[in-house]
């Protein structure tokens, strides 16, 4: 922890181990007193090399690998991947599967936004709000667990459809759960927009105008809080969003408060969509047959993750593995804006500004990776040895 002292200036590193960030990522802020004068970001602490790894695994293995790009929005990653690969293979998932995908995606959005309210409150030093919102979040975690069998990394998707169905009991449970959550969301909306002390930390902080948001390429709720109408669910409906249209939540103010308002409004929209889906769930198969090899081709798939537009590019060469797979997560786009916004603000506002875009470093860093260096090589060797051992053993027996 060396102290870098320049005359009158002081550099503060936030991360990779920093209490404000539950994830690694390194920011360096040069401060003058309490005011930030320069900001610099270094990623790569969570860079695992998933894109390279994806080229070395087959289509089905990749599904489970990509689900672990990010633990918070795992379902949406898997959905984007499945939709893209299905498009390449000219397979259409049945209507019920598409509806269940959307249902789980919206439940995940609820979980993610509740989580975010809590984390931001925690950054602001409002522990009680953190505790309450996470307590309520457990409700949606229970629903997801009941539906898919896991609290995080649900694995609801398979290539060609989904693997979990919804029965009547689950429907009732989900309806009960979301009416409770809706009531709570209303309460939080009230707190977030009326609590004078909290507003001191959010109102007018990190304001991003519409033009700035467009130029810097902000996406997701961050952009929508600056009145940029950008939502893949609306612009280019995927899965079952054509049947269940979404109303975009927009705000004109562009500050932190607006980002809270937009996200809470999205919660209400999610509750509405879930009710609609449960009322009109189509009765079809859960999955279509999916070939082992995928025809050659290129596809771009965009979906709306809780944090904004998630982009997948997949190129297939007709084998059982992808030729190239590129993931662009929402945080990487918003990161550019956050770095510029931090300059001129107080150091105390920085965690809130960072939290304002709901950053996800594991999402960011996944990009590249190769297959196995030391370890995989040694595993293969072991296999080889095992095989030789078996051959020799039986040769010995034969003699």
């Amino acid at each position: 922890m060396a102290t870098k002292r320049e005359p009158e200036r002081f550099t503060i590193s936030i991360g990779p181990q920093h209490p404000a960030l539950k994830e690694p990522g390194s920011f360096q802020f040069t401060v003058d007193g309490e005011i930030v004068t320069k900001a610099y970001v270094r990623l790569g602490y969570a860079h695992r090399g998933i894109e390279k790894a994806a080229e070395q695994r087959n289509w089905i293995q990749d599904l489970y690998l990509l689900e672990r790009v990010c633990g918070i929005c795992s379902h949406i990653h898997a959905t984007a991947y499945c939709l893209a690969v299905e498009q390449l293979a000219h397979v259409e998932a049945p209507a019920r599967a598409q509806a269940i995908r959307v249902l789980v995606a919206e439940l995940e959005r609820i979980h993610s936004h509740f989580l975010w309210i809590g984390v931001s409150a925690h950054e602001a030093g409002f522990e009680t709000l953190f505790m309450y919102s996470w307590r309520d979040r457990e409700t949606v975690m229970d629903l997801l667990e009941g539906l898919t069998g896991n609290r995080v990394n649900y694995s609801a998707n398979i290539l060609g459809g989904v693997k979990c169905d919804i029965n009547n009991e689950q429907t009732t449970a989900i309806l009960d759960g979301i009416s409770f959550l809706e009531e709570r969301a209303r309460h939080y909306f009230d707190v977030l927009t009326n609590d004078a002390m909290f507003l001191q930390r959010t109102r007018g902080i990190a304001t991003m105008s519409r033009t700035q948001a467009e130029v810097m390429g902000a996406i997701g709720p961050t952009a929508r809080a600056s009145n940029v109408a950008r939502d893949v669910r609306v612009e280019s409906p995927y899965a079952a969003y054509k049947q269940y249209p979404v109303k975009m939540a927009l705000d004109t103010r562009g500050d932190l408060e607006a980002r809270f308002v937009v996200r809470v409004n999205e919660l209400f929209e999610s509750f509405r969509i879930i009710r609609e889906i449960l009322a009109t769930l189509p009765e079809t198969e859960l999955a279509a047959r999916f070939p082992r090899r995928v025809p050659a081709g290129e596809v771009v798939m965009r979906v709306e993750a809780p944090r904004g537009e998630l982009y997948y590019f997949i190129k297939s060469n007709g084998s059982d593995k992808p030729e190239r797979l590129k993931v662009r997560t929402p945080t990487i786009c918003n990161m550019t804006s956050v770095i510029k916004l931090a300059v001129g603000h107080q150091l105390a506002d920085v965690p809130m500004i960072l939290a304002g875009i709901d950053p996800c470093f594991s999402c960011n860093d996944r990009t590249v990776q190769l297959k196995d260096a030391g370890n995989q090589a040694s595993t293969m060797l072991m296999w080889e040895e095992l095989r030789l051992h078996g051959i020799q053993y039986y040769q010995g027996l034969n003699k």
């Binding site: 270094r42 090399g49 130029v215 409906p237 982009y311 990161m335 990776q369």
Partner: protein
């Protein structure tokens, strides 16, 4: 504007003046623009930005492998539900691309990624530091290239 109008407008832009671009429509929602002269890349992007035709969704690089000495870089712009893909070819050895940072500030992260993952030099990049790879990564080793071999790395400590 629906996607058809957007793509018509976009093809008008990328074919204005006497730019050496070739366009194709692989599917109704997508416009592929092959940019044959590197110097035209930035003006085309400026043209798209002026008409507010989407924002830069991502820059993807496809490595053709060591046999081909060719890498293809794709710039994806997504207005509405349409996709505009600018495709540029660069050689694997000593390939350079102009930076889009002045026009699209968000391009910086993608360009830094191209630089460290594929070894494409970007001219005019503000901060050419490492973004993803560790500090002790050997120079000249680009993990996303097809011929990358983990043996190029020092053994794990």
């Amino acid at each position: 504007m629906n996607s058809e109008e957007i793509l018509t407008l976009a093809s008008g832009i990328v074919q204005s003046w006497d730019w050496a671009t070739e366009i194709s429509r692989p599917n109704p929602k997508q416009l592929d623009v092959k940019v044959n002269v590197l110097q035209e890349l930035v003006p085309i992007v400026v043209g798209l930005r002026v008409k507010r035709l989407g924002y830069l969704s991502a820059i993807v690089c496809l490595d053709g492998g060591p046999e081909t000495n060719d890498m293809e870089v794709l710039y994806h712009f997504c207005p509405g539900d349409a996709i505009i893909a600018l495709r540029v070819h660069v050689p694997r050895d000593g390939g350079t691309l102009p930076s889009l940072c002045e026009v699209v500030p968000g391009a910086e992260v993608f360009e830094r990624e191209l630089r460290e993952m594929f070894g494409i030099e970007i001219t005019g990049l503000h901060t050419p530091d490492r973004l993803y790879l560790p500090d002790d990564w050997p120079a000249g080793v680009y993990p996303m290239r097809k011929d990358f071999d983990p043996k190029m790395l020092s053994p794990r400590p």
